[in-house]
């Protein structure tokens, strides 16, 4: 599926705002035709990264390539092949939503009239109203319709659903699926785990301006350990000797531990010998993965590069 040139290839990106370091060595790779999730706590540098990719901010260090070109030098040519939806959409208050869509979609390269009409219908947006009277969600729809009605090869979406209601989120999900089916690449920055799980092939998690986890969603799931809680008739302390069981905690006849998914068959066989009376196994959840990275005290870079601060 991946061609030789990735849609986005960023390595060791750094950016400072005065004395504040926003990015401290960020890596990000989006293969062509893939939907990539981009996650991180507030202020971790997601929007900064996207703005650098759009040539709105100038990186202080590191490498960034988008569709094989330099996002700063080749900005204008690149933007004909890219569409962007910001998290906070600012429109001209005295122009209508429809006028704003015309202006923005013209700037995203070729725009398709039929698709525009269809999207207005699907997102249930009245284009004759002045942007002044739009709610946050409606302003976001304007940017979404403008981006999705273009023929852009790459969609850069910065928390695009933060103002949408659940019904519109569903419309958004199906639109992104269609875009992926057409072979477009998508970078989706989001806070909604369910959305990322539904849509994304790969995920990059960043923290304090650097990448802490990146990979295919299925692989990341395997990285997580399964949590097991078991009540056995024998002495639960004997479980400590079973290979693959870690973080063992005992409470009476109950033992809680974690298992690497690869070692689960062996562990289960060993458990059977202890005649378990009750067994609860929690599969690895993405939410756990995200929350672990969101809340851990120091940022742990995925690569061996180490922090630059």
């Amino acid at each position: 599926m991946a061609t030789t040139i990735p849609a986005i290839e960023v390595s060791g990106l750094t950016k400072n705002y005065g004395r504040t370091a926003a990015l401290t060595g960020l890596d990000l790779r989006v293969e062509t035709g893939q939907v990539a999730g981009f996650l991180g706590p507030n202020g971790s540098g997601k929007s900064t990264t996207i703005r650098i990719l759009l040539g709105l901010l100038k990186a202080d260090g590191g490498e960034a390539r988008m569709l094989g070109a330099d996002p700063w030098k080749d900005a204008v040519a690149l933007h004909r092949r890219v569409a962007y939806v910001p998290g906070e959409v600012n429109l001209w208050p005295n122009l209508t939503g429809g006028q704003a869509i015309s202006i923005l979609s013209k700037l995203h390269g070729q725009s398709d009239e039929r698709r525009r009409a269809e999207l207005l219908e699907r997102f249930d947006l009245d284009p004759t109203k002045k942007a002044r009277s739009y709610s946050k969600g409606n302003r976001q729809k304007v940017a979404l319709v403008a981006a999705l009605s273009s023929d852009a090869e790459l969609l850069l979406l910065d928390e695009p659903t933060s103002g949408l209601d659940p019904l519109m989120e569903q419309v958004f999900t199906s639109c992104i699926r269609e875009a992926a089916a057409e072979g477009r690449s998508v970078l989706l920055s989001s806070h909604i785990f369910a959305e990322v799980e539904k849509l994304c092939d790969t995920v990059t998690i960043i923290r304090d301006g650097q990448t802490v986890e990146a990979g295919r969603l299925s692989d990341l799931r395997h990285l997580q350990r399964t949590q097991v809680s078991v009540e056995i008739s024998g002495n639960p302390a004997e479980l400590a000797a079973v290979p693959g069981i870690e973080e063992l905690q005992l409470a009476g006849a109950t033992a809680n531990f974690s298992v690497d998914p690869a070692q689960l068959p062996g562990v289960l066989a060993a458990l059977a010998a202890h005649s378990p009376r009750n067994l609860v196994s929690a599969p690895p959840s993405l939410e756990d993965l995200f929350l672990r990275h969101y809340s851990d005290a120091p940022a742990q870079p995925a690569a061996a590069r180490g922090g630059e601060r």
């Binding site: 100038k58 933007h79 910001p86 869509i101 202006i103 700037l107």
Partner: protein, 554 residues
């Protein structure tokens, strides 16, 4: 007598805000007193500035007129020529031009009355429709506040502004020893204009559903009534008001004739219109939902035309109404300058130091006056240019530039479009203002020469734009403040430098002071050429920097 006005307006308030009613009442006016205090707390600085600025103009203008017409003979001479169509149209009939009080009315009455009208319309909208639009009224209405309490308090605070402003104006007139009767009528007629527009502003706030709409409607009404009275005064034979002037509240207030006949009775009509308007607005409010207006919300096109989607087209579309406003302003002031040039120069005493400082050591008094008009015109074009290019920073600040640059628009094209409008627009304004000054001067000046003289100031305007581009590139967050500050200093130096005893060399080193004021001075190519080079250097440096810097949203 403004105090009389105030008492008249406050009388109903006292029984509305009866202490027991405001504590335990259940009426529609419950809590109006608390609401009024709250509005005062939110607006006291704004109110104080309006009242003080409007009133303090009185002694300043009085002083300048006393210097311009120091003797009764000078005033009598002025009275002979004061009644021109331009004066009648702009400021009203000069019914008492032979007295200092009457001259004060000609010079400043209309400005003060209309300004107070704007003040109360904006104030009523700000504490009415704008609050409702922002959802603050909803929060207030959920408390134990009567339905009409907040709007009533709003109208009363605005009435208070009128009363205080009128009172201050009267007291300042008395302080400069103008006749007592006329002084009181002066304050009362200006306050009365404000009171009448409170009623109209209140109705506007009910009709429109946005604060912008309410303000536009209110401003349109002020304009309409201003033009009705202008038409009435143009029709007048001599200095007697015509029947048409009774179709405008501004006309009613004018017909009180401060320092002339000193009529009190039109004040009743003004107060009556204010009261009736407020009561009608309260009635309208009872018939509609919170947040809704009575006029339908205007819709717009569902898609933009091809031109609007270009950088230049969008910039022009965003600035459309502002451009039209500035061009009309330049045309009207050009026509006005031209029509008064001859009269003004024949009135100014060449020995008067004030006049000489102002007009300069020109070839003749007429050329001096024309030269100062050319400078006025250039200053106007400068303000336009700065405001026009400032729209670029507003686009960046408001986060709208990001989305355009995220599309296939280069920074140079985008900034170039805004710059082009400011550059060509200011050039057009200069030529327009200069040409019309000449055209309206009834042969005392050559329109072509004045258009050229005005255009000579183009490099001065461009130097302001150059500075603006430079600061936009290097100090985007303070570009607006820096540019306006430098413009303000340049204006002061060019206009009043002589009065402040600034040396000629210093004045010549400022952009607007450097350009020779044709026809008062001989033209020289050096100052405009040097300014043009400076502008280009500043502008190029600023644009180059903008191409390299981050886009800074607020």
């Amino acid at each position: 007598m403004s105090t009389g006005t105030a008492r008249g307006r406050h009388a109903p308030a006292e029984h509305l805000v009866h202490p027991t009613a405001s504590r335990r009442g259940t009426g529609t006016l419950t809590g109006a007193g608390t609401a009024a205090l709250f509005i005062l707390r939110r607006n006291w600085l704004r109110l104080a500035i309006w009242a003080l600025v409007l009133a303090s103009i009185i002694p300043v203008v009085y002083d300048s007129q006393q210097q311009a017409f120091p003797t009764q003979a000078a005033r009598d001479a002025y009275a002979q020529v004061a009644n021109t169509p331009a004066v009648a149209a702009m400021t009203g009939l000069p019914y008492a031009a032979g007295s200092l009080g009457g001259i004060l009315v000609i010079k400043i009455w209309m400005t003060l009355a209309v300004a107070l009208g704007f003040a109360v319309v904006f104030l009523v909208t700000r504490n009415g429709r704008a609050d409702e639009e922002a959802g603050r009224t909803e929060l207030l209405r959920s408390t134990a506040l009567g339905r009409h309490a907040y709007p009533t308090a709003n109208y009363l605070v605005a009435a208070g502004l009128c009363a205080v402003t009128g009172l201050l104006i009267s007291l300042l007139c008395l302080a400069v020893a103008l006749p007592a009767n006329g002084s009181w009528v002066m304050g009362a007629s200006i306050a009365g204009t404000g009171l009448a527009f409170i009623g109209l502003g209140a109705i506007c706030g009910q009709l429109a559903s946005t604060s912008r709409g309410a303000n536009s409607l209110g401003v349109a009404l002020i304009g309409l009534f201003y033009f009705i009275r202008a038409a009435a005064d143009l029709q007048a034979d001599g200095v007697d008001p015509t029947a048409l002037s009774w179709f405008s509240p501004v006309g009613w207030a004018q017909n009180m004739r401060a320092f002339g006949e000193d009529n009190w009775w039109p004040l009743l009509a003004l107060v009556g219109l204010g009261l009736a308007g407020c009561l009608f607005a309260l009635r309208l409010e009872s018939t509609r939902d919170l947040g809704a207006g009575l006029l339908p919300e205007r819709r717009g096109p569902a898609a933009a035309g091809n031109f609007t989607t270009t950088a230049l087209g969008l910039a022009l579309r965003l600035q459309r109404s502002s451009l039209v406003g500035w061009f009309i302003g330049a045309a009207v002031s050009g026509l006005f300058f031209g029509s008064v040039a001859q009269a003004m120069s024949s009135l100014l005493d060449p020995q008067n130091p004030f006049a000489r400082n102002f007009v300069g050591t020109g070839h003749s008094m007429l050329d001096g006056v024309l030269g100062i008009f050319v400078l006025f015109n250039a200053l106007l074009a400068g303000a336009f240019a700065i405001q026009c290019l400032g729209a670029a920073r507003s686009e960046e600040e408001g986060g709208r530039l990001e989305q355009q640059l995220a599309g296939s628009l280069s920074r140079g094209t985008w900034l170039g479009a805004h710059l082009l409008i400011a550059v060509l627009g200011s050039g057009f304004m200069l030529v327009l203002g200069g040409y019309l000054t000449g055209a309206a001067s009834q042969g005392s000046a050559d329109p072509g020469q004045l258009a050229g003289a005005a255009l000579a100031f183009w490099p001065a305007v461009l130097s302001m734009l150059g500075l603006q581009l430079l600061t936009f590139g290097y100090l985007p967050r303070s570009t607006t403040a820096i540019t306006w500050a430098v413009y303000g200093i340049s204006v002061m130096a060019a206009m009043f430098g002589g009065l402040f005893s600034l040396s000629e060399d210093v004045i010549r080193a400022t952009p607007f002071g450097a350009i020779p004021r044709v026809p008062a001075e001989d033209f020289s190519w050096t100052p405009p050429a040097v300014l043009l080079l400076i502008s280009l250097a500043l502008g190029a440096a600023g644009m180059a920097r903008f191409n390299r810097r981050d886009v800074l949203t607020n």
